[in-house]
Symmetry: C2
Subunit: 172 residues, 2 copies
């Protein structure tokens, strides 16, 4: 709570200044290979969809998009226009205590603490021409992950080349 209040004062008290402080993740450094910095205020972006990864990842995810991304999704634009940024947030996958008590077994799962970092896809068809027009960035606790991590992004996203390399569809 103290950290949030300090940030509020620094930002002049407006709620617009809350976003990064409230997300608890502020990064100044750019991620390797694609040179992407954490976009300011991404925690305030609108929702694209939600996801859950099982197994080793075992997390809850929210996919948020900047205004360009949301507009493109809603209009069915393909490929996504330059300027599109998609954010993938993730948290631990926790049973909700109250519902487990009420049902006698896990029934409801909710997002817990931040987990597995925050990722971004940035569309720039010229700058990132060799990777389908997308740059990729992964941050752990606000710090960019290393080059090895960033070398894995495009290969995986290439499996959905026909969806412009984007896994998540818009949840209406």
């Amino acid at each position: 709570m103290k950290l949030v209040l300090v940030a509020l004062f620094a930002a002049g008290g407006g709620i617009a200044g809350l976003s990064n402080a409230a997300s608890g993740q502020v990064a100044a450094a750019a991620a390797p290979i694609f040179g992407i910095k954490m976009p300011a205020g991404y925690r305030d972006w609108r929702l694209i969809s939600v996801a859950h990864e099982e197994g080793k990842l075992n997390d809850f995810r929210a996919i948020l998009g900047n205004d360009t991304a949301i507009k493109a999704y809603r209009e069915g634009a393909h490929p996504f226009p330059d300027g599109t940024i998609i954010a993938r947030l993730a948290w631990s996958y926790d049973p909700l205590e109250e519902s487990e008590k009420a049902f006698g077994h896990p029934q409801s799962f909710v997002a817990g603490s931040p987990k597995n970092g925050v990722q971004f896809m940035v569309k720039d068809s010229v700058k990132y021409a060799s990777t389908g027009g997308w740059g990729f960035a992964h941050f752990n606790d606000g710090k960019p992950a290393d080059e090895t991590v960033h070398n894995t992004c495009f290969a995986c996203h290439a499996t959905v080349k026909d969806r412009d390399f984007v896994f998540n569809r818009y949840a209406p």
Copy 2:
């Protein structure tokens, strides 16, 4: 797609006019007991958290909040101030086809079609004094659910009275 474009023209082309049309759920009627209508533009609200219900419900959820709700969550306000509105959206809980193919078993789950309706909690400590200051509303395909459904809301939320009757915490 046709519906979205028509709405765009009607709203003068701005992205702000997209929200309800893009959500596919527009309700004019008020829900019983609490008399709550679907708030305009709720699909554009910021994210509070995500959730998953197992068993019969078997859905993916996103909890969104209006500006009053987001501010209250980030500042740790308790109880939530009058004017707070919390929205609960839900979709089918679908395996992501591409990851199932790649892993040989379901690994990633994503939101599919809208499912189990859209719900709202509206804070008005005077109007809804007898139900902890909260009014509840449930809409299926844009239409209010019946009175029986609305009679179940408060009893269940009463299990988290110490959190001002709100199940979901803010996901940072």
